[in-house]
Amino acid sequence: MSIFYENREIVTPGDLLAEGEFEAGRNAYKIDSKIYACKLGLVEYKGKTVHVVALNTFYVPSVGDTVIGKIIEINLHGWTVDIDSPYLATLRPTETFNKSYNPQKNELSEFLNIGDLIQAKIIAYDRTRNPLLTIKEPGLGKITRGQIIKVSPAKIPRIIGRKGSMINMLKRETRCNIIVGQNGLIHIYGRNPEDERIAVLAIKKIELEAHTSGLTDRIAEMIRKERRGMV
């Protein structure tokens, strides 16, 4: 049994991470008794499991995730939603018309039109069919104000932080409402454009420095500095 890297060291696809009685965790794979990395990331040895925390990745849908998407097509089956993933998502007409939906009578575009942004939740997805969305729960639905920024989905856990520490600090310090889509799209709306500007700046900095330590303190300090600069 041997490991070949320090915990949190940067590894690349094909790097031999461990040999012996280990299991391949996230972004790792196993051939015989060898564990290899399959993405660029930080290696994490957790007991007998070897993970790679990816530094760059795209969003793969998962049931229960909140995502932000854009309506790109309307047809008889409902709305097609681009959720910035390999698969387009579907929002069914019954989401808004309940059981009374009549394709000949109801005009879907009156409710959600092409180009509209929505906040939605994934309720079904199994790889053989495209992910299915809902907007029926509280807080979900059409996005009408604020701004949207895009970050790598790999950085989302860091933006939320342990038990929400980072995102709570961000909301408090920037006085903005921030909704994080697991697909890397983030919706920010504040009381004024300056608050939103600072929130965007902070999130961009987290994205860039996600793989470094002491980040929460640095971000809080940055936000305070920006505010002072304004005065």
Binding site: I10, T12, P13, G14, D15, L16, N27, Y29, I31, Y36, C38, K39, L40, A54, L55, N56, T57, F58, P86, Y87, L88, R127, T128, S152, A154, L208, E209, H211, T212, G214, R218
Partner: protein
Amino acid sequence: MKEKIRLVDDSGIRTDGRKPDELRPIKLEAGVLSNADGSAYIEQGKNKILAAVYGPREVHPRHLALPDRALLRCRYHMAPFSVQERKSPAPSRREIELSKVIRESLEPAIFLERFPRTAIDLFIEVLQADGGTRVAGITAASLALADAGIPMKDMVAACAAGKADGHILLDLNDLEDKEGEADVPVAYMPSINRVGLLQMDGQLTPEEFEKAFNLAIEGCKRIYALQKEALKAKYLAIKEAVEEAGQK
């Protein structure tokens, strides 16, 4: 009659000053195009090549989608100005063949089965050609795939070896490629010891081939190290900058 050019001098030095087993200078960079999901740029000698990856994404036209894995599509293309005499931008038979063998060298590296019904589109544009564009293209393409965050078994490193003036040489330049006796391009996954591309033209005895092939593998291993460096570079630079700032 054209005079025969000497490609290797009496002390074993090549026309560009290299030793027989020496690579040309290589510059590799990942993440060079903002629109692509992954991208890379390589300079190897006077080769200048861009690679970009889009996907996994919806397949168009939809009937091409595969039920059990992602479809990898690859286009190797040379810019009209990349060579001495202008090349027609329409894909030549050579480019069609190279697109195929390049794709076949990368397919085995990717976990395609994880993304059924999607397409991964790979574009290789040769901006300037200087011999060995297919292997340099693969080296860059593999880096672009990793930059896109596509799960891979290993990075694919590629390099050619060949024979000129009776010598077995690593990484042939344009002149050695055109005037030499044989060219052996190889793509290799060093970590798992597998060959994904192998071609040859020219004339070699089986013994000479083995020597050239082993030399090409050795070249791939050196290029592999450069690929890893290039992939990590951006993140290491940020980490260092942050740590330095923290110490102040």
